[in-house]
């Protein structure tokens, strides 16, 4: 809550953003949205509807071709990139794109080192999270030798370790076993961050959010509202999720 105005603070504002990949493929088309601090938003849409692209845009990692974005009140730019990196974390859809250090331990210490957090503090946090997520047995392994689920867990721990204000999770429960899935859903439920989760799995939507932004195969927003969207079969069918 913003104490002065008594209104919830805006975490993200996007106005008419579009993105086309260099090869000419349309990524997202004309997206406008507002997300408030503490909200749990689900980006729901079929494969190729632009969810991953939208996450890259909303986290300030790639600039839109058209439209404007504001993250925690600032426009992404070189000048305030440090502020954004401290407050915004993204878990990529594919852990092989996300993890690039020689060992899991070095993965966990990467962001703290970049942000200048003292070593003693960083290693304490890293070890605690590693225990909680049962990756303490693989700290010395190289990430590319891990199983899919382990890679995912490591990516998620890397991102939530420093308690970001905004957390983007791109298909966090794809290709993980039941136990890990439960743990991931638990993190989302317990966290106090603003969380935006992309998924195409209808069943998990109520567990990870109370607001749905539905994307269609035309890479536009088809609907933006509460969980009642899950009841609207026609809408879901039109968007291509069922």
């Amino acid at each position: 809550m913003d104490l002065e105005s008594g209104l919830p603070k805006k975490a993200l504002v996007a106005k008419n953003i579009s993105y086309t990949y260099p090869d000419g493929t349309l990524g997202v088309r004309d997206v406008s949205l507002e997300i408030f601090e503490g909200e749990r938003v689900v980006l729901l849409g079929p494969n190729g509807s632009g969810k991953s692209t939208l996450m890259m845009l909303l986290s300030g990692l790639i600039p839109p071709n058209k439209g404007s974005i504001e993250i925690l009140g600032v426009e992404p730019s070189r000048k305030n990139s440090e502020f954004l990196r401290r407050n915004v974390a993204v878990v990529f859809q594919n852990p092989d794109d996300f993890l690039f250090n020689p060992t899991v331990k070095e993965e966990l210490l990467y962001t703290p080192a970049q942000l200048g957090i003292p070593f003693d503090e960083a290693i304490k946090i890293a070890e605690e999270f590693a225990r909680r997520f049962e990756i303490d047995g693989i700290l010395e392994k190289p990430p590319f030798r891990l199983s899919g689920g382990e890679k995912k867990k490591v990516s998620i721990v890397c991102s939530i370790m420093l308690n970001p204000k905004i957390l983007f999770l791109d298909e966090p429960t794809a290709n993980v076993d039941g136990k890990t899935r439960k743990k991931i859903l638990e993190i989302i439920q317990k966290s106090s961050s603003t969380i935006i989760t992309a998924t195409h799995e209808l069943e998990i939507v109520p567990k990870i959010g109370n607001r749905i932004i539905l994307m269609g195969t035309d890479k536009r927003i088809r609907a933006d509202g509460g969980l009642e969207i899950l009841e609207d079969e026609k809408l879901l069918e039109g968007a291509g999720v069922i």
Partner: protein, 253 residues
């Protein structure tokens, strides 16, 4: 074809393993405990010295020192050899033609030259491998920064490292995927044709993946080279190492 692909897969595995050290780097052996700020310059000296001579009597003691380091650092000998055998073999094959004279008889000095040459390669690669096997990558980086190696240079090294691991991991994935989906054996002509497009696809994959990895490093705080540093250690291990390196320098001069 099978031979080519098999060789390629072996080579890929070989190079990927060369940079994979989780089985040795965290053991509490001699080199692992040695302060990296002494280890790196010291090993660099040991690496350069044998390249300054062709005298087998000067080269031989280095072999014993390397063997000592391997055992004192609790590195399995088999694992150590499996990391490096390809390099001296390759260099031997490269210089071997020089051992033949015009009438295709092998000359003894030529053969000795080829052997000594590959022995030197063996020594150099062994030392390089010992550094890699006993030093976490982050420690190598922080040591370079300690010696005021410019950040831009260190960044290039880090990015190169990421590229290498990425490239080999990707190459292995592509080859396994191809193998798992191959139904019939192809003729040589077909392989030649498909091979070209497969290679093209491979490079596009590497390129796009490296772009996403770049975005990932941005999202995770950037890629400034500011690793953690620790106070310098100086104990028995360090004193012993310095003594040995100095002795070698003295013996060579």
């Amino acid at each position: 074809m099978d031979l080519i692909e098999k060789t390629l897969k072996e080579a890929t595995n070989f190079f990927q393993n060369f940079f994979t050290t989780e089985r040795t780097v965290y053991k509490r052996g001699f080199l692992q405990r040695l302060d990296a700020r002494l280890k790196l310059p010291g090993m660099l000296i040991l690496l350069i010295l044998p390249l300054s001579t062709f005298d087998p009597f000067k080269l031989a003691p280095m072999l014993f020192f390397i063997l000592f380091l391997v055992f004192a650092s609790k590195i399995e000998f088999k694992l150590f050899l499996s990391r490096i055998w390809l390099f001296p073999l390759f260099s031997f094959l490269v210089v071997l033609p020089r051992a033949f004279s015009f009438d295709l008889t092998i000359s003894q000095p030529g053969l000795i030259y080829a052997l000594v040459f590959s022995f030197r390669v063996f020594l150099a690669v062994s030392i390089l491998s010992l550094i890699i096997l006993t030093t976490p990558f982050s420690e190598i980086i922080s040591t370079l920064r300690f010696f005021r190696v410019p950040e831009s240079f260190v960044s290039v090294l880090v990015i190169t490292y990421q590229y290498i691991t990425l490239t080999f991991a990707e190459m292995l994935r592509v080859m396994l995927a191809r193998e798992s989906r191959r139904i019939k054996r192809l003729s040589f002509k077909e392989i030649w044709k498909n091979g070209g497009s497969a290679l093209g696809v491979f490079f596009i994959r590497i390129y796009e993946r490296s772009e996403r990895v770049y975005l990932s490093s941005i999202s995770r705080g950037g890629f400034k080279q500011r690793p953690y540093t620790f106070p310098m250690k100086f104990g028995l291990i360090e004193a012993f190492f310095i003594t040995f390196v100095s002795a070698f320098v003295w013996w060579y001069i």
